[in-house]
Amino acid sequence: MNALLEVRGLSVSHARGARRFFAVEELDFDLAPGEVLAIVGESGCGKSTLLASIPRLFADAQSRIDSGSVRLAGRELVGLSEDELRPLRGAAIGFVFQDAHAALNPVLKVGAQVEEGLRAGGASTLELLAQAGLPDPARIAASYPHQLSGGMRQRALVALALAGRPQLLLADEPTSALDPVLGREILELLTGACRRQGMGLLLVTHDIGLALRHARRVAVMYAGRIVELAPAAELGARPRHPYTAALLAADPARTPRGKRFAAIPGAAPAPLERGAGCAFAPRCALARERCRIERPALVEGSACFFPDEVRP
């Protein structure tokens, strides 16, 4: 299989004052054309940083990639200059932001914004808006973002991301600002576009149920690392990392009616407080002495020393 995106040993750090800390450490994964890979984790686990590091779209100019390699269709992205990277953004790598209200320019009409990102030979603005499931695209194109509803704005944002006909689409919690029904529609729109155009989709979400429904494979991140990476069906049925099992147990949709869903005791360690051992050990029921001293590597899709002891 020829991977569209190959990420090897990727480490990204942010700066806080004079100190630097790793938001993402030694990530490895692949993405095939047309594949949907979901990245699941709680807030602060580094999933958005991972996404931003691929086209190097950091919100903070101090953030940087410290080591590792990111290859898009065989081309190394780490080490490219800003001028070399710019033509790839939009055209090769599309980005769907979380908050469509903030990600659309308030003083430009939607049509003008989509048109700005168009590439020659692609669909027209109106076609793109129609593809994004917007009724009456001509009227939408002539509207300002504030005149649209939240769902319409998110669809417009999808049209904007697809305007450059990218090979790789990065979606950062594209549905967390929407209600579940709308969210599902947007995700079906995204996954459908990927299937049709052979575009890879990297979907970041904190909702494991949503990831299992829409992605072919799911990567679970915890404290800056991937702790489990497996096909969605397998991961949902037989988790091989205690954190995944805990996440599944905490999913309201999988909890029987009338039962309280399980919470994970404790909190994820802050980036500067991560110790030498497994970052999940303090919250883990299976943790032993070895877990606190030695960090488990991602082997056969699980970064746990005792994957067979995990109970769903």
């Binding site: 086209p55 779209l57 919100a59 710019r86 033509p87 790839l88 953004r89 939009g90 055209a91 790598i93 599309g94 980005f95 932001f97 908050d99 903030a102 990600a103 659309l104 320019n105 308030p106 003083v107 430009l108 700005e116 990102g117 300002y144 504030h146 944002l157 904007l160 305007a163 450059g164």
Partner: protein
């Protein structure tokens, strides 16, 4: 017809904005067309060697360009509301520029004729005069301090005596030695209501003509210094806000430094030191602009500091747009609304500052007129204060109103935008 409906619809959506724009444009058009509105030289003259246009002969290239722009300025509320706004908005000035250059090249040497000389030399030739047939520096020693001629108190008999003697407009109740009023060619009759509708000053110069030319200079100072401040403030403010770090530090300190200058004294100093051949209008505009850019710069800096972090800027970067494009098309339009308001207010403020300077006697040099200088010319006579003062107030109010309305227009959250 359809176009007319578009325009009317546009006006109806934001009547106050279009009214303010029309007022500002009308005043500026009046200033730009001053040589055709108030002039002692005839507009057209049937000379022996063919027709002549004496009013246009002393104009330089810049003044000719401005004159050609006058109808464009006057019609702004019309074309800006129509669907040809881009074509006319840029097309007319470009056309006027070419026309002014051709005119400049084809015209002979500029001729300077002393004020009032054309009228004295006119003889039996037929001529067409401006609506106000007086020059701004044309004196008439036979009628100093004449009150507005539509007042009964302004009536003068054949010997040059006021008919109602005790209400005379000169200081201390003194009567000037009687001398018959000199009525020159092209001027209204001695006691015509429209001879001097706004009265005259100490040298018998027509106040209406001087208000027109004074407004031309004062409005030019307001507009030029506002544009100067806008350009300088936009450049420096956006640079500081976008680049941040050391650039921001330098610009912010520069702003604080400039804010410490006492502007009025600085202008007085520069004007009194002199500026070589440059007209005082440009010197004053330059100084006001150089000290006035800080307001615009501070607004833009703050806006750009905010916009730099905005998600739609990040999104624009994610679409692969260049830095220039992001700044010009995505950041700047989002930062402009407060800047436009500040600039409009600044135009009004600059006009007031120029008036203050001229009132102190340090602005434009006589016989050049400015609204503030006219007030200084005769504080003891009501008409010398009321008329220039009213025009000044009108202009400042118009600018401020336009600023307010422009802000609403640029705010997408206020309904009825893009009128």
């Amino acid at each position: 017809m359809a176009e007319l409906r578009t325009v009317l619809q546009c006006w109806r959506r934001r009547p106050l904005f279009w009214a303010a724009l029309a007022l500002v444009c009308a005043l500026h058009a009046l200033g730009a067309a001053a040589p055709l509105v108030a002039n002692d030289a005839p507009l057209w003259l049937a000379a022996p060697g063919g027709a002549r246009f004496p009013a246009l002969e002393p104009l330089n290239a810049c003044e000719r360009f401005v004159l050609l722009l006058a109808p464009w300025i006057l019609c702004t509320p019309l074309w800006a509301a129509s669907s040809w706004r881009t074509r006319i908005g840029f097309g007319w000035p470009a056309f006027a520029l070419v026309l002014a250059l051709v005119w400049q090249l084809s015209a002979g040497a500029r001729t300077f004729v002393p004020a009032g000389e054309w009228k004295r030399q006119l003889g039996a030739q037929s001529a067409l005069f401006a609506p106000i047939p007086f020059g701004h520096s044309e004196t008439n020693s036979s009628e100093p301090w004449r009150p507005p001629t539509w007042l009964a108190a302004s009536e003068i008999d054949e010997q040059g005596h006021y008919v109602e003697r005790n209400v005379m407009g000169h200081p201390g109740g003194l009567e000037l030695p009687p001398s018959p009023v000199e009525v020159r060619a092209g001027e209204p009759a001695r006691n015509a209501a429209l001879r001097h509708p706004l009265g005259t000053d100490a040298l018998g110069r027509d106040l209406a003509a001087r208000v027109v030319w004074g407004a031309r200079n004062s409005l030019a100072v307001g507009l030029a210094s506002a544009l100067f401040a806008l350009v300088l403030g936009t450049l420096l403010g956006s640079l500081a806000g976008w680049r941040g770090a050391r650039t921001d530090l330098v610009v912010s300190r520069a702003i604080e430094l400039v804010l410490c200058f006492p502007v009025l004294f600085l202008v007085l100093l520069v004007v009194s030191v002199g500026s070589g051949g440059v007209s005082a209008v440009w010197t004053i505009s330059g100084v006001l602009g150089l000290t006035g850019w800080t307001g615009v710069a501070r607004l833009l800096r703050a806006e750009f500091l905010r916009l730099r972090e905005a998600e739609f800027v990040l999104a624009a970067r994610g679409l692969g747009f260049s830095e220039w494009r992001i700044v010009l098309r995505h950041a700047l339009p989002n930062a402009l609304a407060p800047v436009i308001v500040a600039t409009s207010f600044f135009a009004g403020t600059a006009m007031l500052a120029e008036s203050a300077i001229s009132y102190l006697g340090a602005g434009l040099v006589e016989p050049e007129a400015s609204l503030g200088g006219l007030v200084r010319g005769g504080t003891e006579h009501a008409w010398m204060v009321i008329f220039p003062g009213a025009v000044l107030a009108l202009a400042v109010i118009a600018w401020n109103l336009l600023g307010e309305e422009l802000r609403d227009l640029n705010d997408p959250r206020i309904p009825g935008r893009r009128a």
